[in-house]
């Protein structure tokens, strides 16, 4: 069964999809100080970031009853201080611009490393 797509055939004519599925575009100016590079992008999209972190918080609350995020907010900023330039500064800038605790912005940025297990 795995020799075939589950539908039994390869899709045709999917391109181009409707324009509503195109993603928005932004410029990141690397000449700005790291703390300011992401300000416009994250400020305009902070609700999406809040929603994502809320989804993760709700998921983990089932097991950790809110304690995990207390630890994340307390200890993850310590990792940020050890990250190479300019990444720690950029993460701090995102936290400042959105009001999201720095530990949670750091968690989002280290998700890949955590989920390779």
């Amino acid at each position: 069964e795995s020799q075939l797509p589950p539908t039994g055939k390869c899709k045709n004519g999917a391109y181009p999809p409707e324009s509503s599925r195109k993603v928005p575009k932004y410029v990141i100016n690397l000449d700005l100080p790291p703390e300011q590079r992401w300000t416009k992008l994250v400020t305009e999209n902070k609700q999406g970031l809040y929603n994502l972190l809320a989804a993760i918080r709700n998921l983990t609350n089932v097991i950790f009853h809110g304690k995990l995020f207390i630890l994340i907010d307390k200890y993850m900023p310590l990792i940020v201080n050890t990250l190479p330039y300019p990444f720690g500064e950029e993460i701090a800038g995102i936290a400042n611009a959105t009001g999201i605790p720095m530990g949670e912005v750091a968690l989002f940025n280290l998700f890949y490393e955590i989920f390779t297990v």
Binding site: S2, Y15, L41, A54, A55, F87, F108, L110, Y112, T116
Partner: protein
């Protein structure tokens, strides 16, 4: 994830990827969706990284993520990364980092450094293959010349272990494909996205290799599945990048 590079009959390279994320992170029984995947989709953006008013490279990111998962340097190379699962995974690397071993590089930060600093396909390949990583990963790198395409398989914590699998090595000559498994092993029966993708690529044929052909491929299940957030399409020689949100309506594989 699925990453694929194809070369058409005139030697033009096309690089595309599906980004899948959110496995086991909350299944919504009502809507048959993954909670984190659904939350990620609205924060997908295309970014134009500029220096002195000029494009240095372009990428597709989730808002708030400063590393690179999908990017293209105009006329030079394109890069995607696929997650490599391993018991000796990034979690151990994070613990080592916390204990003071800062000799490794975070995956997303390495890819960003490659996009900012590498000046050619060859330089990018060397950086991706020899930098000591904190977590295992697959890097899928495409160039701008015929045959310039490879998958770099990396372990955690070493800078001498890279497996570089080129399009010529792949036995397919005009395409190279990576999902989330080592190319020298069979994918597990419960997550074989490789075999259907190869079947669709062969059906498409090199004469139809194009951005639209790749979008068709990545819109076919199981390469399109409930974890898929977006499809990115890149053509380095004309600085073309298109990104579309993806949805997989039922019936659809959960991964």
């Amino acid at each position: 994830c699925t990453s694929v590079i194809v070369e058409d009959t005139s030697g033009v390279l096309y690089h595309a990827r599906n980004l899948d994320f959110g496995l086991f992170l909350g299944w919504d029984f009502m809507n048959h969706t993954w909670l984190v995947t659904e939350a990620l989709r609205p924060i997908v953006v295309e970014l134009d990284y500029q220096r002195q008013g000029k494009t240095l490279f372009r990428g597709v990111n989730f808002v708030g993520y400063v590393g690179i998962l999908t990017a293209m340097k105009p006329n030079l190379f394109s890069l995607t990364m696929d997650e490599r699962f391993n018991l000796n995974g990034g979690f151990i690397g994070i613990i080592e980092w916390l204990l003071g071993d800062h000799s490794t590089t975070w995956m997303g930060f390495l890819t960003r450094q490659v996009m900012e600093n590498a000046t050619s396909y060859t330089v990018a390949q060397k950086m991706l293959a020899t930098t000591k990583l904190l977590a295992p990963a697959y890097f899928i790198l495409g160039g701008n010349k015929s045959g310039e395409a490879c998958v770099i398989t990396r372990d955690r914590g070493s800078n001498t272990d890279a497996d570089i699998w080129t399009m010529a090595d792949s036995g397919n000559e005009w395409f190279i494909l990576e999902t989330n498994y080592d190319h020298w092993k069979k994918p597990p029966f419960f997550d074989d996205r490789r075999t259907p993708a190869i079947k669709c690529l062969n059906q498409m044929g090199q004469k139809n290799a194009s951005v639209s052909g790749l979008f068709n491929l990545l819109s076919t299940q199981p390469n399109l599945n409930k974890l898929t957030t977006y499809t990115a399409l890149m053509q380095v020689n004309i600085n073309k990048m298109e990104t579309y949100l993806q949805y997989c309506s039922d019936p659809c594989w959960p991964w």
